[in-house]
């Protein structure tokens, strides 16, 4: 009788918050596994990349995991529109054939950037060239920012993608979507998710910064060093400005940025969110997972009576 393969049950709603549930199930698995997404009902770009990252982690420990596809037709269709399956097929054995993506995304499509692998700097250029004009239109028309206010979008996108190349030492993915975040915010948002399976912040910064922290050196202190103090793994004083620029721009939008790495997560939390600014003792997960949420400008869409 063949041995039972461990099953990782994907939460029905997969986003930044529930990703930790997924990570907790992935952490103890050794060897071949099944990832069961049949009950998935809602997923955002962070959740999608999390699902890919979980598959890649499991694959690195043994055979490629099997992914049971979601049963909900709208979830399958949305994953197709986001280009999820092309990447999923590299990571998973799929339990069935996924639906083909629709021919052309409409102008009103919430997909701003399909899930895109980032391997080197040329990929960053391709992403920026593809997204810049469309993002400017969405930030103007749906989020009601002026051209000046939306000008920093590509800067943020470029810097978060470069984080993969500069610090991860491994490839990663980026995905962007715009949708109405009714549950938490009641406003339109643009969500950028970036993930990699590299060495993570603690190991990336270890050589230059760990000695100063002594026994306190950890995933959390490494994130604090990079996020708050602009620490970089390079000695050049000009380095480490990317995160500073991202935080400043996201702050101007009243948005949220969070970075999870290893067992910790750090965030700039706006008043519309109730996440803690620093979380520790999370289930371990390799690499780094970055979320940027840009909310619709407050009162920006209000019409005069």
């Amino acid at each position: 009788m063949p041995a039972m393969r461990p099953v990782v049950a994907v939460p029905s709603r997969l986003d930044e918050r529930s990703f930790d549930e997924l990570a907790a199930q992935v952490a103890p698995v050794e060897g071949s596994a099944v990832v069961d997404a049949r009950h998935l009902r809602w997923v955002d770009p962070y959740g999608m990349l999390g699902l890919l990252a979980a598959g890649a982690v499991l694959a690195s420990r043994g055979a490629r995991p099997t992914l049971y596809l979601p049963q909900a037709a709208e979830v399958l269709s949305y994953l197709s529109r986001m280009g999820f399956w092309a990447e999923a097929e590299r990571v998973y054995e799929l339990s069935a054939s996924p639906p083909a993506p629709s021919a052309v995304a409409s102008r009103r499509s919430p997909v701003l950037l399909e899930i895109t692998p980032v391997r080197d700097h040329r990929d960053v250029h391709r992403v920026i060239a593809e997204v810049h004009e469309r993002a400017a239109t969405i930030l103007r028309e749906r989020l009601h920012y002026t051209p000046l206010e939306s000008a920093g979008f590509s800067l943020v996108l470029s810097e978060v993608c470069q984080n993969i190349i500069e610090h991860a030492g491994a490839e990663g993915w980026v995905g962007i979507q715009s949708y109405r975040w009714a549950q938490r915010l009641g406003r339109q948002v643009v969500v950028i998710a970036v993930m990699d399976l590299g060495v993570g912040f603690r190991r990336s910064l270890e050589r230059e910064h760990a000695a100063r922290y002594g026994e306190r050196w950890s995933d959390a202190t490494a994130l604090e060093a990079a996020f708050i103090h602009g620490a970089s793994r390079f000695r050049d004083p000009g380095r480490g400005q990317g995160l500073k620029q991202i935080r400043a721009q996201v702050g101007r939008w009243g948005g949220k940025i969070s970075i999870r790495s290893g067992t910790a997560r750090i965030a700039d939390v706006p008043d519309w969110d109730d996440a803690p600014p620093l979380e520790t003792n999370l289930p371990p997960f390799p690499g780094a997972q970055i979320l940027v949420v840009i909310p619709e400008k407050a009162n920006g869409g209000a019409k005069s009576p």
Partner: protein, 189 residues
């Protein structure tokens, strides 16, 4: 007044200036041009035009402007060269200001809101630089009047402007603003 001999070169940057390797490549090309132009020891003014730059990220800006400014002020510069940034708009300025603060360098720029200094300059330095830019050249014998500062601050202010390569003395000790407008007027005269 005799004009100091200057050379001038211009770089028009295009569209999406993102990633550090892109910036590094552009900087290497600019340094190479400066080394060639300045091989005879004549000072060179390099104008970098941002008019067509749609996206400028911090990594690329740090290489193109931050590292280049540091190289020009450092011990082994590619040439006796000076920087001027053209058509710098507000999004460019935010990024450039940040990278120059990190490197503690000052660079002069123009744009929709006029000429300004980017980087961590005190109000005293900014005032002296604006004054020098207006008059073009300050006479050492009346530099305090020309720069509208106290006598005991002249040496420091001029030294700082020279150190940041915003001003240059000619053979007669006169202090020149390293700006395209000043040089053009001068050459035309």
């Amino acid at each position: 007044m005799d004009a100091p001999r200057w050379k001038r070169t211009e770089v028009l940057l295009l569209h999406y200036l993102v990633t550090r390797p892109t910036g590094r490549g552009l900087r290497a090309a600019m340094e190479s041009t400066l080394a060639e132009l300045g091989a005879d020891g004549v000072p060179v003014l390099l104008e970098i035009d941002f008019a067509r730059v749609r996206v400028l990220d911090a990594s690329c800006a740090d290489e193109i402007v931050g590292c280049l400014a540091e190289r020009l002020c450092g011990p082994n510069p590619p040439a006796d060269a000076y920087l001027w940034l053209r058509n710098v708009d507000e999004p460019h300025q935010r990024v450039l200001q940040s990278v120059l603060e990190h490197r503690r360098r000052l660079v002069a720029a123009d744009g929709p809101t006029g000429c300004r200094l980017l980087g961590p300059a005190s109000e005293e330095i900014r005032r002296a630089w604006r004054r020098l830019l207006t008059i073009g050249c300050a006479d050492p014998s009346r530099a305090a009047t020309d720069l509208a500062c106290e006598e005991d601050r002249v040496a420091f202010l001029v030294g700082e402007l020279e150190r940041q390569r915003l001003a240059r003395r000619d053979r007669d000790g006169r202090i020149w603003a390293c700006a395209p407008s000043v040089l053009r007027i001068h050459v035309a005269a």
